[in-house]
Structures are given as C-alpha cells and as structure tokens.
Symmetry: C2
Subunit: 321 residues, 2 copies
C-alpha cells in the first residue's frame, strides 16, 4: 500500500479534524506537525508522527514563509516525499505554500515545464477535471499540451475513466475560435497523445463531456470560482423559497431536509477530494481549507488511490509519447 | 419618446413573438422585415413597418452575410439608426451580424476604440453588468478603461444605479494579482472617472457588489457561460429531487410550481432584457434568440429607457472626462 504524508496542521479545523480524518481513512498516513498537539489525538490508531515545530499561516507570503519556516509542517511533509519516505502528501493549508514546497523541495517531474493545479468538480456521472485552476496565469502552447496529458492521467487514476475525453476551453467550438493561444493549442492538442475532442465553451464545465477541460490558470481560476459561486447562489435562492414554504408547512421539513443536504454535498466541490498539484515528483493533493474529518478521509483515500494507480508513471509515459 | 427599430425577423420565434412583443411593449417601435409576413401580425396596433426582403440566418457568416444581404432586416434596422430615424435597435438574431452591422453601418461613438457587449445578469438586488461578454477576446488597457466607462453608463441607465461600483475581474483581490494585462488595467482604472473598487474574483459575479465587472471578451464569455450553465445545472438537480418528492406527494405540486417558475425567471438572464452593444452611435440591444413576446416587450422597454436616459451622452461624457 502506498503511504501518504498529511500536513496535520493545515486547514481551518486542524489538527482535530485532520487527525480524525487520517484515523478514519484506513490509509497508511504519516502525520506531520507539532507532536505535543498531535499525540493526544492519535489515540490507539498507532499513526506515526513526524514532528514539525512551525506552521505556515494562510496570511503568510508563501515563498517567504517556506524559506523562513524550514521546519513548517508543509516543508517537512514535502521533504518526506522528496526523500521517498512517502508517495505523496495532502495539505488543507496554504495553496501557495504547497505549490512553493512542491517546486522547491519535491521538484518537477522530468520534462514538465510548469506544474498545474487540477480541480475536480461535480459534473456528469463521474466528475470532471479542470486545469490549470490558477497556478499559471500565463501559458504557452507547450504548457497547455502538458496540462492535457497530466489531466488525462488524473482522470484515469482519480475518476477511473479509460481514454478520458479532453476539451480546450474556448469561446466557440470551431477550430479558428479564440485568441492566438487557443488557435495554436487546438492544433497542438490534435497531435498530442490524448483523446482530444476539440474546443468547448463555458457551458461545458457542467456537461457530461469532456472529462478534462484544459485552459490557462487565469481563465480556469475565474471559471471555477464563477461556477462554485453560482452553484451556492442558486442553492441559497432555493433554500430561501423552501424556507418560506416550510414556515407555512413545518410538517414538510422532514421530507426535504435530507434531500437538500444530499444535493449540497453532491454539488459542492470540497467534498470531492480536493485539487491535485500535477507535474511534481509525488502525488500532491490540496484539500479545501474547510475540510471536515469525513472530507479529509476521502481526500486521503483518493490520494493513495492515485499513487497506487501510478499517476506519476502515467504522466511520464504521456509526456514521452 | 424615443423610437426603436426592431428586427422583426430575428430570433427563434420570429416574427410572431417579435411583433407581439412590440405590440405589447407600448414602445414607439418601427418593425423591420418582410412586409407580407408582418402586416397580418400588426393588427390594429398601427405599428409602422419598414420592408426588408432578406434575413440573415444564424448559420451565415455574419460579416459576409451582411455584405451580401444588403436588404437584410438587421442591415435595414441599422440603417434607420444611422439615418437618425430611430434612437436604437433591438435584434434577437445573429449576435455577430448585429455587431458587424453596428460597426459597418451605425459606426462607433467618437473616441471609442472597440465596441463591447455588456451582459446584464441577475445578481444582488438590482442586477449586474459584465463586459466584455465576447466581442473582444484580446484587449489593451485602454479598451478595458473604456469598457469600464461604458459599463458604468449602462448601469446608470439600465439598472438605475447612481455612481455604480466597478471591479476588474482577476484571480485575487490584491493589486499585483493577475497577468500584465490586469496589473496595468488596475492602475489605469484607479485614475479613470468611475467608482472603481479594485480587483474582484470569479465568486463576485453573483455577489451584491460590484455593479459592473470589467474583463476581456475571452474571460467574460467563459465566465458568463459557466455561470449560466451552472445555474441551469443546479436548477435541474433541484427539479429532479423535487420531482421525486412530488411523485410520492402529488398534493404538494401546487405549493411548489409557482415558486419554481418564479425562481427560474429570476435566475435566467434571458428574462432580464438582453445584452447591450456599447460604443456605437445608437442604443443597440441583442435579445436572447429564444425570447418570447413577454421578454421582447421587456427588452424594448429597457432599450427605449436607455435611450431616454441618454446612454450615449453619458458614455461620451465619461470618455471625455
């Protein structure tokens, strides 16, 4: 079984929820963080602790904090990956610090120009991968092709999809649409070792196809935040309407409460296992800061499954094809 | 009262719904299209018809069709604007053809480098303007500043907001965030004669503030389509859940049907009056292709109100400030 380092100090509810999630996950986890705080939480699970005395705060400048706090839980977890002690790491802490630690400590996979953040969002039967979610606001054609290869590998290991379809996010379906960036990428993606289906539009972020949407980190970041906010906005509007009905008819509350809760869980991406940092020499997952123990357990299971399904080898193979 | 030319042949339900919408609107409308088809629909409303024998199809190449079909309803309506016969025009036909006709026949306002499409979306109490929605995938700092000025003018005339707040769509709130394009635009917008509140993120497309979101036509197009599709996706998921409840409890249907219908109308942008083409010498509205007579009547009332509230003068004043 693959082994995963968990930044036990990262996230809004750390370390209580991170440790509880690790215990519940059944995954071979190494907890990284302040031993004095973690030891009492481990209970009889026997999970090992690697002590790290510092914590990088969400408000810290990521690269600066990483240099100054050499014994931060994120840096120590990344070092375990770099040393081959574990196959990957999970953190619900600062995305910027995880990216910086991945670049500076873990290192890029051979041939990868730019690591990218891949978001996994609820759409269709099996979910959908969108990358880059914000790591690279400016990209070249080469970067976009690598994102497509890495995203396809993740769709295989995370979503279990064989030959996942890949679309290029654009403002129309025809090959000539978009900016120079999209026109060049469209041609290059047609020749890449992936199942490229052409341009897709913003509408398709919630469609069944494609399984993977490739774009630059500026557009991806805006599209993902727009989609998440719109989903919450509509859910809030519905809850408002339903609340008015239930004020008149409190007897109906039992009928709707479980359905609304189920829907919220289905539609909100933080329950889907977090975002992956692709292109570094380890399986790295960035969990939502608000992750509960149940979400954290899910994220750890997802991450170990990616490692065991050989995410890195698949990316290497794709880049060499 | 201002007078508006209506492309009576444009849209999925033309000319029946376009003419019915014009009749219902109470607006001083000039119908443009095939007289033989329109005359029987006008009834005793007395609405004038300007004959146009051609129609530009949604599948046509817009610029080519505009050149070849000189007597298309869109071209003739645009000519009425150019000749000062009317103050503006409305079309539910091809967006590309309306843009081409505006550029070639109506012409740009003095000082405007690039006309932009401004979408009006349901968010907050009063709605929100997002531009550019797709006319200009590539932009300069100057274009973005002009979009901000034009969008502010539209927020005043369409939404009735005094000193509307303007935000720059970006991937973080801090001034240094984004691409070179956003960093330069942020500085320029701080000096522009608008109520600039700084960078906003994708989340804020459904927030109360700002009233106007400025971005390039690539990002804007993706964000708007993403938001619209996500809204429909969540509504469909809710209707699915509700459908299951109502199968068990058909007695509750009456309780929910009007609320769901009201919510759909509130959340879906096509009932909010269409998109505005800003920066040309006339008030030009592009209605949704699926517009019903009720929506068309609303679009005509909105358009005439913009003209009467001196949208063009406000844009001119902003550009000269």
């Amino acid at each position: 079984m693959a082994r995963i380092a968990l930044d036990a100090m990262g996230g809004d509810h750390a370390p209580v929820e991170t440790v509880a999630g690790a215990v519940a996950s059944g995954v071979d986890v190494v907890l990284v963080g302040d031993e004095a705080q973690l030891a009492p939480l481990v209970g009889d699970s026997g999970l090992p602790i690697v002590h790290a005395e510092d914590v990088i705060d969400m408000a810290d400048d990521p690269a600066k904090a990483l240099r100054e706090k050499r014994r931060s839980s994120i840096a120590v977890a990344a070092q375990l990956v770099a040393d081959g002690e574990v196959d990957g790491m999970v953190s619900a802490g600062s995305t910027g610090a995880v990216m910086a630690a991945s670049a500076m400590i873990i290192g890029r996979l051979e041939g990868v120009s730019r690591p990218a953040i891949a978001a996994v969002i609820p759409a269709g039967e099996r979910g959908k991968i969108v990358l880059d979610a914000g790591a690279n606001p400016d990209v070249t054609t080469k970067h976009l092709v690598q994102f497509a290869i890495m995203g396809s590998a993740l769709a295989e290991t995370r979503l279990g999809i064989v030959e996942p379809t890949v679309g290029l996010l654009n403002i129309g379906h025809e090959p000539g649409k978009g900016r120079d960036q999209e026109r060049a990428a469209h041609d290059a993606l047609e020749k890449a070792p992936i199942n490229f289906i052409g341009n897709v539009e913003g509408y398709e972020i919630v469609a069944d196809q494609p399984d993977v949407i490739v774009t630059d980190g500026f557009t991806g970041n805006v599209a993902l935040k727009t989609s998440e906010a719109t989903s919450r906005f509509v859910m809030a509007a519905i809850k408002h309407e339903l609340g008015e009905v239930l004020t008149e008819r409190p007897d109906l509350a039992e009928l709707f409460a479980p359905r609304l809760a189920g829907l919220g869980e289905k539609l909100h991406p933080e329950s889907h296992g977090g975002a992956s940092l692709l292109g570094v020499k380890g399986v790295v997952t960035i969990a939502h800061g608000s992750s509960s123990r149940a979400v954290m357990a899910n994220v750890l299971r997802m991450t170990v499954a990616e490692a065991e399904r050989h995410l890195l080898d698949r990316i290497r193979a794709g880049l060499q094809a």
